[in-house]
Amino acid sequence: MSERVGWRRVCAVGDLVPDRGRAALVDDEQVAVFLLADTGRVHAVAHLDPFSGANVMARGLVGTRGERPTVASPMHKQVFDLRTGECLDDPTVRLRVWPARVTDGWVEVRP
């Protein structure tokens, strides 16, 4: 069976707690991976909090602002859109976003 080009297997879906994040190392980069309870979708954004400079984003609380799925930095509570990485409190700041998906029970991220 050929490996799907570009996608990296990160963990099993069962390793994630719904509506919580986990940090992962993908090609030496720190990625925050989230599993959303309502959509069953996974999202991957930078683990580095651009405001504090600490690797903590995976430990933030997820939620929604209107229709947008969000994560709040656990350090100083700035809120980011999980799909685009955009910071809702400061539009000049953005988290890097990686494409993420679930395949055969595995969470995959494409660097």
Partner: protein, 844 residues
């Protein structure tokens, strides 16, 4: 600083597209905050002083030339020369500031003599003092020449470095420019109480070197001498107008480049701003007027017609920890003006109001020792104080005026010259609805910050007037207050967040409502914080049961009830800290905080602590933190009750109790109050007949003294009263509302709460008692429970695909024998493969 503000002002006006802006500075740093220079001693990181947004200097139209002093101006050719290169200009702004003057005293250039002006000055001073201390093996003897504002700052810095300090002032009092005889005398008494020697009416005639060539003796004009190892000159500043003089620009005979109200010098293409400019009849030595001049020049450069005609010279400072403020006509220079003075030499307070001849109008004032009235008084200058003005001076004086009474023209922020009207318009015209928005839009409160409470009051008053409802809805997902939500959960028996959301909310929740729901569910005893769905509700602190620190690691605080600990317990904590290399510090709550634990280390650390008999201290939770106690009757010769015993009993009773905000308790064994119980949410003070109970105190951002709730209670009645008070608070307070504001918000205030607790006025006392007894019976150490449950432990890994791999970006330096996170600058060195010297000096 003023140049920085000028560039900001130009960029704000979009002038950076029209003008190429080049800034030349002789220092190697970006513009930094000289007003806060002394703070360098506290954190030793000059980067923390840097001003404004660093992005300012990388904009296309802006260029900062550091280390590039301008050496000549040629107004005819319109060029400046720096490092041998001529740069052309269309408009030139002189913002060269001033230099510290050193009086013509023989020996003032000896090694060990300093001025106090730049980061390099203070860094050099610090290094000198620490080195001499080591060489001499005794405290360094310091002297400061000049007893003004800067001299006292320098004295504070020397004292903090461990030097003995003498302040020498030529005038007959300290701070002669700002204070009169009475104020100067009060300040002197306070300063001498801090072990600083003060010599007024004293001239320094020479400085003598010791055998090693360093400064060793200071000789006064009257022949008296003192031994010195370091001398700081703080005798004033002089405008740096030498470039302007050499270029033939008009200069005032006593210094300063002459400029008109448009800040133009005698050459219309050259402007002068800040301390180098002689404008509106004088040189202005404060940053506020300098910023105002920067705005004028920016406006002129884009074709405006702004003018500078003078500025408010009001100042409020904290020198050596002493509040000093002076504003308006502080010296009563107005003809016929009246002075109202309140002086309390014992308390170290001097306050003076200057009023018009009919006592109707406030003209100015002076405050030493307690400047709390400054924020309220300064905007009232030129207006009426109403009623009895002495009320403003007495310790428990009249309330500050409500913000709606302030005229639009009143200056609220004197650093940035922002009026009440400007702040109101930020709300009404520009639609700002929070403090951050108003600060960003007006710059009010962004420099010294002393006006922030007033800005907030103005904002709230304006919002209320505009009919903006200050909604008590928790967030967009719940149209209920926290208290209402608590009742819903309690009465309906809902036990999960998703059920609560489905039945009473909308959306998926957020970082606001999730922790609130978590706290409510925990207060009502619905399981472990990590059980099932609860795990997704907890803030990171509650989620990993530790306190998040700035670098993403955590601190660990085991419970030490009442602050009582055995030697074995101390050793066990010490061994854990040593084995995991944790930074260790004693907290204000009489326990021990262990910093720098990585998320994946927490279970191993707690496993050791639990084995040694410790349990979670809930330092991470909105919950009971500590019950602080003094040693009480058991040892103290004044104690009248067993305060430690009661504190331990209370801490074990209420441990783990989740609440709207953190809860702190204190128990003192006698009226001397060594446990500072009146600074706690619940404070207990022993009497010879029982216990007095106080409620609603706290420290922190808005300190509050607790109020007396009941007197001479038996231990049993006391515990029942605290039980009911706490549960009633937990049920009815708002999110993140501590007991003091809660008591104010309850209808009927503290009397109504007292009636609920002692007279069962709402008929819920039995219910409150039952709730607390359920809590006490259901308590379980959440760390011990976590360690028993492999599923809960699964979350404590650094990376889901590399469980024990530490965060590779963490970097530490050793300081005073322990680790601390590296600063950005240190981190750059560490990552580049360099090494940093270990800091051992135990100073500051």
């Amino acid at each position: 600083m003023v140049a920085q503000r000028l560039v900001e002002a130009l960029v704000e006006r979009g002038a950076d597209t029209e003008w190429d802006i080049a800034v030349f500075g002789e220092e190697s740093r970006r513009p930094y905050d000289r007003v806060a220079l002394t703070s360098y001693f506290a954190d030793l990181d000059p980067d923390n002083l840097l001003l404004g947004d660093p992005g300012l200097w990388t904009r296309p139209g802006v260029r900062l030339h550091r280390d590039t002093p301008v050496t000549a101006i040629d107004p005819a050719r319109r060029t400046v020369t720096a490092r041998g290169t001529a740069h052309g200009y269309d408009a030139l702004v002189l913002a060269t500031g001033s230099y510290a003057t050193v009086p013509p005293v023989e020996g003032s250039d000896l090694p060990g003599c300093f001025v106090y002006r730049t980061v390099d000055d203070v860094a050099g001073l610090r290094t000198w003092v620490l080195r001499r201390q080591e060489q001499l093996g005794r405290p360094v003897r310091g002297a400061v020449v000049g007893g003004g504002l800067l001299g006292l700052e320098a004295a504070g810095a020397l004292t903090a470095l461990g030097a003995t300090t003498t302040v020498v002032e030529f005038a007959d009092r300290l701070m002669p420019v700002q204070l009169d005889q009475g104020g100067g005398a009060a300040l002197r008494r306070i300063v001498e109480g801090l072990d600083v020697t003060v010599r007024t009416s004293t001239a320094t005639s020479s400085l003598r070197a010791g055998r090693d060539g360093n400064v060793a003796r200071m000789v006064f004009a009257d022949g008296d001498t003192v031994g010195v190892d370091v001398v700081v000159f703080a005798t004033g500043v002089r405008p740096r107008d030498e470039l302007a003089r050499a270029a033939g620009l008009a200069v005032h005979e006593r210094g300063g480049v002459l400029a008109g109200s448009d800040c133009r010098t005698s050459d219309p293409d050259v402007f002068a701003v800040g301390e180098v400019a002689h404008v509106a009849g004088r040189v202005w030595g404060l940053v506020g007027p300098g910023y105002a001049m920067a705005e004028v020049v920016a406006d002129r450069l884009v074709g405006g017609a702004a003018t500078f005609t003078g500025a408010d010279l009001s100042t409020k400072l904290k020198l050596l920890g002493v509040d000093v403020a002076s504003f308006g006509d502080a010296f009563a220079a107005t003809a016929g003006s009246l002075e109202v003075v309140y002086a309390d030499p014992v308390a170290g307070v001097y306050k003076k109001l200057v009023l018009s001849d009919d006592a109707s109008t406030l003209l100015g004032g002076m405050l030493v020792g307690d400047a709390s009235a400054y924020t309220g008084l300064r905007p009232m200058v030129g207006g009426s104080l109403g009623g009895d003005p002495t009320g403003w001076l007495l310790p428990d004086g009249v309330e500050p005026p409500s913000s709606t009474e302030l005229p639009d023209a009143a200056t609220v922020c004197s650093c940035n010259n922002v009026t009440a009207g400007t702040i109101r318009r930020a709300v009404t015209d520009q639609g700002r609805t929070d403090l951050a928005g108003v600060k960003a839009c007006t710059k009010a409160g962004t420099s010294c910050g002393s006006c922030v409470p007033l800005v907030k009051r103005l904002l709230n008053a304006e919002l209320a007037r505009a009919g903006v409802e200050v909604s008590d809805n928790l967030c967009e997902h719940f149209a209920h207050s926290r208290a209402r939500l608590f009742d819903i959960v309690r009465v309906s028996g809902i036990t999960t967040f998703s059920e609560l959301l489905d039945r009473h909310g909308r959306g998926r929740g957020c970082d606001i409502c999730r922790p609130v729901a978590a706290s409510i569910l925990a207060s009502l005893g619905h399981g472990h914080v990590l059980d099932g769905e609860n795990a997704a509700l907890q803030d990171t602190n509650d989620h990993v049961m530790a306190n998040l620190q700035k670098d993403g690691t955590y601190s660990v605080v085991p419970r030490i009830p009442g602050g009582e600990i055995t030697p074995e317990g101390l050793i066990a904590i010490g061994e854990v800290a040593r084995d995991f290399d944790l930074y260790t510090k004693i907290t204000g709550g009489q326990r021990i905080d262990l910093f720098g634990a990585r998320i994946e280390q927490l279970p191993a650390i707690w496993s050791r602590l639990v084995d040694a008999g410790f349990e979670s201290g809930h330092a991470y939770g909105k919950s009971l933190r500590t019950v602080k106690s003094c040693v009480g009757q058991s040892w103290c010769r004044y104690g009248v009750q067993d305060s430690v015993g009661l504190a331990i009993a209370l801490e074990l009773r209420y441990r783990g109790l989740r609440s709207p905000h953190k809860l702190k308790l204190g128990v003192s064994g006698c009226a001397r109050e060594c446990a500072e119980a009146r600074g706690k949410d619940v404070g207990v003070i022993a009497t010879d007949r029982g216990w007095n109970l106080y409620v609603g105190g706290n420290g922190g951002f808005t300190p509050r003294h607790a109020v007396l709730f009941a007197e001479d209670l038996s231990t049993e009645d006391l515990v029942q009263a605290i039980d009911r008070f706490l549960i009633y608070y937990i049920r009815t307070a708002d999110r993140l509302q501590r007991t003091a504001p809660w008591l104010e918000s309850v209808e009927g205030g503290v009397d109504a709460v007292r009636a609920v607790v002692f007279d069962d006025s709402l008929g819920i006392a039995a219910d409150l008692d039952a709730a607390m007894s359920a809590h006490v019976g259901g308590y379980e150490d959440e760390w011990a429970a976590t360690l028993r449950d492999p599923e809960k432990l699964g979350g404590f890994s650094s990376f889901v695909n590399a469980a024990d791999e530490p965060d590779p970006d963490l970097a530490y330096v050793r300081e005073r024998g322990q680790k601390r996170p590296a600063t950005r600058a240190e981190r750059a060195v560490l990552i580049a493969g360099g090494s940093l010297p270990v800091r051992t000096a135990g100073v500051l």
